[in-house]
């Protein structure tokens, strides 16, 4: 690839991720041409054939803007995080995985052994009586084969390297990505100021509920439903209809996309400003719609009524921390390491 010395340099890299973040950049549509016009793309495995050695050959700070997506779950992710940090002036944790762990970090609810056994031993389609597992190093006649080492815990990017900005979303919405790119382009071409370091960019400052047009009432409910169990009324708040919606505990910015099509917010834009633990906040929000029975009921009966409602939430940890496990207060579950 030839590089243009005049143009600012752009990189995008995927660590433990699904590739959706790359698509969200390509979703800019025609505007991607503007990005190409302004920037010189110097590393972007999803769309161009750069090698890690190309990256290693760049001087420190060579990359003006690095969009790093994906969580850190193996030694390759970690190595690239360090390398890109060293080579980049501005490092953006792009998307929920880099920002706060996202789906990959749900692995922190179990152990590495459990995951490896599930994948390599315990599937009905596995035939692995000797429990052969992938090894980070495997010497053979022709030489040593190496694989990245698989970690016990999944980390967010900022738990590994210094991060300048966070761009939430799973994946980020393209209008937000574009707004952020314009700020960066203005800064690089006109010298206008960048947001303060550590800022959460490309998102709002209130809850998803506040930009959700569905009608809200003061109401409590006696059971929750899984999404497939009911067809919700189109114009009424989903939480009131018994569908778990993370809207009250989630930062806005997406335009409340999911609830408007009948699917409760999954929480992908992360916790509200000032909140450390999104799941804890969600417990409070959910608690306030749970029916506690009639006033004057016996203490035990109140408890039973509430328990019956809670029984209809099958997986609170996985639901309330679907995106924010790596940034949660407890970070990982206490697991029985010998579990198979």
């Amino acid at each position: 690839m030839t590089t243009n010395p005049e143009k600012p340099k752009l990189a995008m890299y995927w660590a433990a991720s699904c590739g959706g973040c790359e698509i969200s950049v390509l979703n800019l549509g025609d505007r991607i041409l503007v990005i190409d016009e302004i920037f010189d793309i110097v590393f972007f495995p999803a769309i161009a054939d750069f090698k890690y050695d190309d990256l290693r050959s760049y001087p420190d700070g060579y990359i003006d803007l690095c969009l790093f997506n994906g969580a850190i779950r193996n030694s390759e992710n970690e190595e690239l995080a360090h390398l890109l940090r060293q080579k980049s002036k501005v490092m953006v944790a792009y998307g929920s995985c880099a920002y706060e762990g996202c789906i990959p970090a749900l692995a922190n609810l179990t152990s590495r052994d459990f995951l490896l056994n599930t994948v390599y031993v315990n599937q009905p389609t596995n035939d692995n009586p000797n429990r052969i597992m992938p090894q980070p190093r495997y010497p053979m006649e022709e030489g040593v084969l190496e694989l990245p080492a698989f970690y016990e815990n999944v980390h967010s990017l900022d738990q590994i390297v210094d991060v300048d900005y966070y761009l939430p979303g799973c994946p980020p919405e393209s209008h937000q990505v574009w707004a952020v790119m314009q700020v960066v382009i203005q800064a690089l071409t006109k010298g206008s100021p960048l947001p303060p370091k550590g800022a959460i960019i490309g998102a709002g400052e209130v809850a998803v509920c506040e930009e959700c047009p569905l009608e809200k009432h003061e109401k409590t409910i006696t059971r929750f439903y899984r999404p497939y169990e009911i067809t919700p009324e189109p114009d009424v708040c989903l939480l009131e209809q018994g569908l778990i919606c993370m809207g009250p505990a989630t930062r806005n910015g997406c335009g409340a996309l999911c609830p408007q099509v009948g699917m409760g917010c999954r929480g992908c834009y992360g916790p509200l400003p000032g909140v450390v633990d999104q799941g804890a906040k969600m417990i409070s929000a959910i608690a306030s719609v749970i029916d506690a029975g009639e006033p004057g009921m016996e203490e035990e009966d109140i408890e039973l009524a509430i328990k019956a409602v809670i029984d209809t939430i099958p997986d609170p940890a996985g639901t309330f921390y679907r995106f924010s496990m790596a940034h949660s207060l407890l970070f990982r579950a206490k697991t029985d390491q010998t579990s198979t």
């Binding site: 970690y151 980390h155 590994i160 633990d277 417990i283 009921m297 207060l329």
Partner: protein, 161 residues
């Protein structure tokens, strides 16, 4: 001195009832386990689940929330909010591998010093049986309390272990 395990219980006590109950237990010279560190809150409904998680993360072996009996909350139904949060939190904590006994809710009116003292005694015994939680050390593998996440260098070692 015997070296039996002395659990640390963080107690969130409602100003209008349980905190007074604890006071009463003191002035009445009731003997009970000295393991609870009381924190006064204006209502049990003030106890954000984040407080509980933070306490467990930063070294508490258990958390006790104490408030007014249902129907007697100074703010009408703050305690009804508490019980809903608490039951959901407890269900969720099981998924994190945290035993149910480590987070407890009791109702104790201002005159129930004895009941509160008994609850603390009971909980202390339960936590003794469970042993220490020490989240930072045992689960996150970090020395001391309130450390940052494991530094990157240790990750590779951890993975090859």
């Amino acid at each position: 001195m015997n070296n039996q395990f002395e659990p640390v219980i963080l107690g969130f006590l409602c100003n209008w009832c349980s905190y007074r109950a604890a006071d009463l237990a003191g002035t009445a010279r009731i003997h009970y386990a000295p393991n609870m560190r009381p924190i006064r809150v204006m209502c049990s409904g003030r106890v954000d689940p984040q407080f509980v998680l933070k306490a467990l993360r930063e070294g508490a072996d258990g958390v006790l929330i104490a408030g007014c009996h249902p129907g007697e909350c100074h703010y009408v139904n703050g305690n009804i909010k508490t019980i809903r949060r608490y039951l959901l939190l407890r269900k969720m904590l099981k998924q994190w591998g945290i035993e149910e006994e480590r987070v407890q809710l009791v109702w104790a009116s201002a005159s129930e010093g004895k009941q509160l003292a008994e609850a603390v005694d009971r909980m202390t015994e339960m936590l003794r049986a469970l042993g220490p939680l020490r989240w930072n050390e045992t689960v996150l593998g970090q020395p001391g309390i309130n450390g940052d996440m494991a530094p990157a260098e240790t990750l590779a070692e951890e993975a090859s272990a």
